[in-house]
Subunit: 120 residues, 2 copies
Amino acid sequence: MGDISQLTLTECMGMIRPVRDALDVLSGKWKLPIMVSLMFGNKRFGEMAREIPKITDRMLSKELRDLEVNGLVSRTVKDSIPVVVEYSITDYGHTLEKVIHELHDWGTKHRERFATADKV
Amino acid sequence: MGDISQLTLTECMGMIRPVRDALDVLSGKWKLPIMVSLMFGNKRFGEMAREIPKITDRMLSKELRDLEVNGLVSRTVKDSIPVVVEYSITDYGHTLEKVIHELHDWGTKHRERFATADKV
């Protein structure tokens, strides 16, 4: 964002849109668990369905399609017998890791802060 | 998050919780605009109500209270005539700027990527 003090308030309000775009990509109940599952290697649909607690096949299918449309996950059909469909994180998907990292660090501190506050 | 490959999947799924906490703090329609408005300096309620497009007094009041509870914004009553109530970002609130920065950078690239894809 550069030096915020050099910008007008209107310019800055315009900067909220890309932040919201990024939040939208990560929000919802399942996108993060799916991305994390795929960070551990390429997976077939059934493997993910077993790994991610409580996700239904229908939701997994829907969310994978969303992630594919956003270019974060790719779907490869392997010409084997039986045919195997494998999902993986794209290079572009890997660029999200830094953002997730920052959110994780901040969220961990936030959690610690309130865990301490509750005990006082 | 360190080196993700050193962790088990279960450990990694546990790391989703702080990420979600951070997302929750930033999500919703008004928290970001309010934080951005206060990044430009301390403000009174009425100033923010005018600056933030379309926010209602009721929503502004609710969201400021949430941000206060989360320790991100502080409310100071100045003993003047008339009494002035001023809002500001706390030191803790400023720690969110790095996260917002990362989200902004990623969201900008994401937007550019899809703007280009649409034109092809």
